[in-house]
C-alpha cells in the first residue's frame, strides 16, 4: 500500500462529504474559468489592433466628423505610410433593433490597412472595388441574416437620408464575405463605398468620421500623432490621435469597470470554498486523530503524516477544479458562437492562474490539519475519544 492509495482511501472514506466538497470547489472554479475567459476577451479588445495603426478623431468626441480635406493633409505627414477613413452609417437591417456595424469606407486603402486582419478573396475584392453600390460583410454576420453573395440587400440608416429617394434606405449588392485572417480578428461588420455615401446623403457630405493610418514603424507613432494634432490645433475641427489599441481600450472601458466586477465575484466564490473546504478538512482530520496515533505508533514519520494530509487536500482541490476548467472552456466556446467576441477563451496565462489557485486552495486548506496531525502526541491521540 503506497502513500497515494492511503490518501485516496482517506479522501473517499466519507463519500458524501467529499462529493459535496468537490461540488463546491467545482462551481467556484467554473465561475473562475468562465469569468477569466470573459476577462481575456475584454483584454483582447485593445490588443487586436496592430502596433503601427493610429486613429485620428475629432478632439470633441469620436462621433464628431472631420473635414474630408484633412485626409490628404494627414497623408502628407512624414512617417505616415497609408491613410484611410470611415463614416459610421448607423445601419440596421429590416428591424431598428437589428443594428449592424456599418461603415462607409474608401475601399482600396481600407482593405489594404486591414489586410492582416480580414481576408477577402481576390475575385470578391475586385468586384467590391469595381461597383460603387457594392458592399462586403462579415461571413458570420451574412449567415445570421441569411445573405448570399450576389443578393441585393436594402440597409436602413438611423441617421442619414438618401437624397435620391427621400427615404432612409440604401440598396447594396453583397459581393464578398470577410473572413478573419488572424485569430483575434472579428469582421462583424458591413463595408461599402464612401463615394456612394457621400453623393447620396442629404447632410454630412465631405466629412470623414475618423481617419485610420498606418505608420512606417511603431517607433514613430508618438511623433506622428503629435504632428497631426499640432497641424490642426486651433482649427475649427481639432483632432486627437491615438493608437488603435488605446482607442479601442478607451471605448470598451466606457461600459464600466468589468475587471473590478469580475475580481469581486471570483474573490467571493473563492473565499466561500476556502471557508467550506478548510473547515471540513480540519474536521475530517480531527475525526481521524486515533488513527493517526496508530500510524505514528507503527513508525510513520511526522513528515510523512504531514504529506499525507496535505496530499489529501491538494488532491481534493485538483479533482474539483480541473473538470471545472474543462467545462468552463466548453461553455466559453458556446458563448463565443453567440457573441462573436474573439479571445473569449481560457488563455494559457489564465489556465495557469487557475492551476495555481487549485494548488493554493489545497495547500491553505490542508496546512492547519496537516500541522495539527504532525504535532500530534501519540498518547493524547490514542487517549482521545
Amino acid at each position: 500500500m503506497n502513500d497515494f492509495s492511503i490518501v485516496l482511501a482517506n479522501l473517499f472514506r466519507a463519500k458524501l462529504r467529499t462529493s459535496l466538497m468537490l461540488v463546491a470547489i467545482f462551481f467556484a472554479f467554473l465561475i473562475f474559468g468562465v469569468l477569466a475567459g470573459v476577462q481575456n476577451g475584454w483584454d483582447n479588445i485593445g490588443n487586436s489592433g496592430a502596433d503601427n495603426r493610429l486613429v485620428t478623431t475629432n478632439k470633441i468626441n469620436f462621433t464628431q466628423p472631420l473635414p474630408i480635406s484633412y485626409i490628404d493633409r494627414i497623408r502628407a505627414v512624414e512617417g505616415v505610410e497609408k491613410v484611410t477613413y470611415a463614416n459610421w452609417f448607423g445601419g440596421f437591417y429590416q428591424e431598428p433593433r437589428n443594428v449592424l456595424v456599418t461603415f462607409a469606407v474608401e475601399p482600396e486603402t481600407y482593405l489594404d490597412i486591414y489586410r492582416s486582419d480580414f481576408a477577402l478573396t481576390p475575385a470578391a475584392e475586385a468586384a467590391f472595388l469595381a461597383d460603387r453600390t457594392a458592399m462586403v460583410a462579415g461571413a458570420t454576420l451574412a449567415e445570421k441574416n441569411g445573405w448570399k453573395v450576389g443578393d441585393k440587400i436594402p440597409l436602413n440608416s438611423n441617421i442619414f437620408t438618401n437624397k435620391s429617394t427621400g427615404k432612409r434606405v440604401w440598396d447594396f449588392t453583397l459581393v464578398g464575405l470577410l473572413e478573419p485572417a488572424k485569430e483575434e480578428a472579428n469582421p462583424n461588420f458591413v463595408l461599402f463605398h464612401h463615394k456612394y455615401f457621400n453623393e447620396s446623403v442629404t447632410f454630412g457630405q465631405n466629412t470623414a468620421g475618423y481617419a485610420l493610418l498606418r505608420t512606417v514603424d511603431k517607433s514613430v507613432n508618438a511623433a506622428v500623432a503629435e504632428k497631426i494634432d499640432a497641424m490642426f490645433a486651433n482649427s475649427p475641427a481639432e483632432t486627437a490621435t491615438d493608437t488603435e489599441k488605446a482607442f479601442n481600450k478607451a471605448f470598451a472601458s466606457q461600459l464600466g469597470n468589468i475587471t473590478l466586477i469580475i475580481l469581486l465575484v471570483v474573490g467571493s466564490a473563492f473565499f466561500t470554498i476556502l471557508m467550506i473546504v478548510g473547515n471540513t478538512m480540519v474536521m475530517a482530520v480531527r475525526e481521524r486523530t486515533r488513527e493517526i496515533g496508530v500510524m505514528k505508533t507503527l513508525g510513520f514519520r511526522d513528515g510523512r503524516i504531514f504529506r499525507l494530509v496535505l496530499g489529501e487536500s491538494l488532491l481534493l482541490a485538483l479533482l474539483g477544479g480541473l473538470p471545472a476548467l474543462g467545462l468552463a472552456a466548453v461553455m466559453l466556446g458556446m458563448i463565443r458562437q453567440l457573441v462573436a467576441l474573439p479571445g473569449l477563451e481560457l488563455s494559457p496565462p489564465y489556465l495557469a492562474l487557475g492551476l495555481l489557485f487549485m494548488l493554493a486552495l489545497g495547500l491553505i486548506t490542508g496546512l492547519i490539519p496537516a500541522w495539527k496531525a504532525l504535532r500530534l502526541n501519540i498518547v493524547t491521540a490514542l487517549g482521545r475519544q
Binding site: 458524501l16 462529504r17 459535496l20 466538497m21 461540488v23 463546491a24 470547489i25 467545482f26 462551481f27 467556484a28 467554473l30 465561475i31 478632439k59 470633441i60 468626441n61 462621433t63 464628431q64 448607423g90 431598428p96 438611423n158 441617421i159 432612409r168 447632410f203 486651433n234 482649427s235 475649427p236 481639432e238 486627437a240 481600450k249 478607451a250 472601458s253 466606457q254 461600459l255 464600466g256 469597470n257 469581486l264 465575484v265 467571493s268 466564490a269 473565499f271 466561500t272 470554498i273 471557508m275 467550506i276 478548510g278 473547515n279 471540513t280 480540519v282 474536521m283 475519544q385
Partner: protein
C-alpha cells in the same frame, strides 16, 4: 401538543449547541452571505440603473423626435417644424400666448472619468430658456443659470461627481472654445444629471448645425393630450414626427442594460448558491453526525422522528437566514448609493447609483432560505431515521 413541545425542545437543543460547531457553522453563514451579497450587488446595479431612467421624465411632458429615430442623437428637427409644433393643440402656454417649449440639440463630447482617467462620451445639450421649466424637480444646487448667447455651461450634479474638469468655476475646453461652468443642477437623480447644458444657438454654431435641433419638448395640458399632438403631427405633412411622453421614452431606454446586468447576475449567483448548498449540506450532515448519540437518547426517551427532523431543518434555516441577512447588510452598507456610470443607449454615459430596494432584499433572503431548506432537508431526514442501536454502537 406533545409533538409541539418536543419540536420546541429539539430546536432549542440544536440552536444552543451551535457554538460547539462554531467554525463549520460560520463557514455556512459566510458562504450564504457571499452568495446573497453577489446576487444583491448585481440586482442593485440593475435596479439603480432602471430607477435613474424611470425617474426621468414626466407623463405631462411630450418629447418629439423625427419619425424612425429611437434616440435623440440621430433625430433631426428643422426650425420650420419647431414653429409648426408651437401651434399644436393641448400645449401649456405662457402668459404671452407662446407655447412652453424647448428645442434642443444633443451632441456627444469627451470627458475624463475621475476613477479610471479614461475618455468617455458625455452629452452636451443645447437648451433654450424654457428647458428648466420643462423638467420637474430641476433645482440649481450651486451657482446660477447660464446667460443666453454666452459660453457658459451648467452641469448635472451626478456628472461633476463622476467626471473631472466640470466643477463650478472651472473652464473646460470643448471644440476649441473655452467654456465656463457657472452652475450645478440637480434633478432627483435622473438621467439629465449626467449632462452638460449650454445655450442652444452657441452649440448650434460650434457644431455647425445651422438652425437644426434634434428634439422638441413641450408641456402638455394633460397626459391625454399626447394623442392629440401625435394626430396634429400626422395631419401635417411637413412634420412627420413621433411624439412620446417623456416617461415612456426613458422607460424604453433602460431595458437592454437592465436585462444584461440581470442575465449576468442570476446565473453567477445560482452557480455560487450550488457551491454554498454543498457547504450547507456538509455542515448539517456533520451536525447530525456529531449529535447522533444525543438524537438516539431523545428517541429512547420517547421523542418522535418528526421533532428530530424539524430540529435539524430549523438549525439549517437559522444559519442560512443569518447568512442572508449578513449578506444583505454588507451590500447595503458598502454598495447602496455607490455611484457609477455606464454607456447608455444614447451612446453617452449615464451616471447612476446602486439601489438596494426592499423587494431585492426579499429576493436575497428567499435565496438564502432556499439554500437553508435544501441544505437542511436531507440531513434532517437522516436525523429522523437514525437507527438508535447503530447510533450507540458508533465510536
Amino acid at each position: 401538543m406533545r409533538i409541539l413541545n418536543q419540536i420546541i425542545a429539539v430546536c432549542t437543543i440544536n440552536l444552543k449547541s451551535l457554538p460547539q460547531r462554531f467554525w463549520l457553522s460560520l463557514s455556512t453563514v459566510m458562504a450564504v452571505a457571499l452568495v446573497v451579497g453577489v446576487l444583491l450587488a448585481f440586482l442593485a446595479m440593475a435596479a439603480g440603473f432602471q430607477q435613474t431612467l424611470n425617474g426621468t421624465g414626466s407623463a405631462n411632458v411630450a418629447l418629439l423626435l423625427r419619425d424612425g429615430s429611437q434616440q435623440e442623437v440621430n433625430s433631426t428637427i428643422t426650425l420650420e417644424q419647431t414653429r409648426l409644433i408651437a401651434e399644436a393643440p393641448g400645449l401649456v402656454r405662457k402668459p404671452d400666448g407662446s407655447a412652453l417649449m424647448s428645442a434642443e440639440l444633443y451632441v456627444i463630447v469627451d470627458a475624463v472619468k475621475r476613477a479610471s482617467g479614461m475618455k468617455s462620451n458625455i452629452p452636451l445639450r443645447g437648451v433654450g430658456q424654457d428647458a428648466p421649466a420643462l423638467r420637474d424637480g430641476f433645482t440649481l444646487v450651486a451657482g446660477r443659470m447660464l446667460q443666453p448667447g454666452s459660453n457658459e455651461i451648467i452641469v448635472g450634479q451626478a456628472l461633476t461627481k463622476e467626471f473631472a474638469g466640470f466643477d463650478l468655476g472651472q473652464e473646460p475646453r470643448i471644440g476649441g472654445v473655452t467654456w465656463k461652468v457657472v452652475g450645478v443642477f440637480a434633478m432627483q437623480g435622473s438621467v439629465f444629471e449626467s449632462e452638460l447644458w449650454a445655450d442652444l444657438p452657441v452649440v448650434q454654431g460650434l457644431f455647425r448645425r445651422g438652425s437644426i435641433t434634434q428634439t422638441v419638448r413641450l408641456r402638455l395640458t394633460g397626459a391625454d393630450a399626447l394623442a392629440g399632438l401625435q394626430r396634429y403631427s400626422d395631419d401635417e405633412p411637413r412634420l412627420k414626427l413621433k411624439a412620446f411622453s417623456e416617461k415612456e421614452y426613458f422607460a424604453g431606454q433602460s431595458s437592454g442594460t437592465v436585462k444584461l446586468i440581470q442575465y449576468a447576475g442570476w446565473p453567477l449567483s445560482i452557480a455560487m448558491a450550488v457551491g454554498a448548498l454543498a457547504g450547507a449540506l456538509n455542515t448539517m450532515y456533520s451536525s447530525v453526525a456529531s449529535r447522533s448519540r444525543e438524537i438516539a437518547t431523545l428517541r429512547c426517551l420517547g421523542f418522535g422522528g418528526f421533532p428530530a427532523f424539524v430540529g435539524t431543518l430549523v438549525e439549517s434555516l437559522a444559519l442560512s437566514l443569518i447568512g442572508g441577512l449578513l449578506g444583505t447588510l454588507v451590500v447595503w452598507l458598502l454598495f447602496d448609493g455607490f455611484t457609477t456610470s455606464t454607456l447608455g443607449q444614447g451612446f453617452t454615459q449615464i451616471v447612476f447609483s446602486l439601489s438596494l430596494t426592499p423587494a431585492l432584499m426579499v429576493q436575497g433572503v428567499v435565496l438564502a432560505l432556499a439554500v437553508g431548506l435544501i441544505g437542511g432537508f436531507f440531513p434532517a431526514l437522516r436525523a429522523a431515521r437514525l437507527p438508535i442501536v447503530a447510533a450507540y454502537a458508533q465510536g
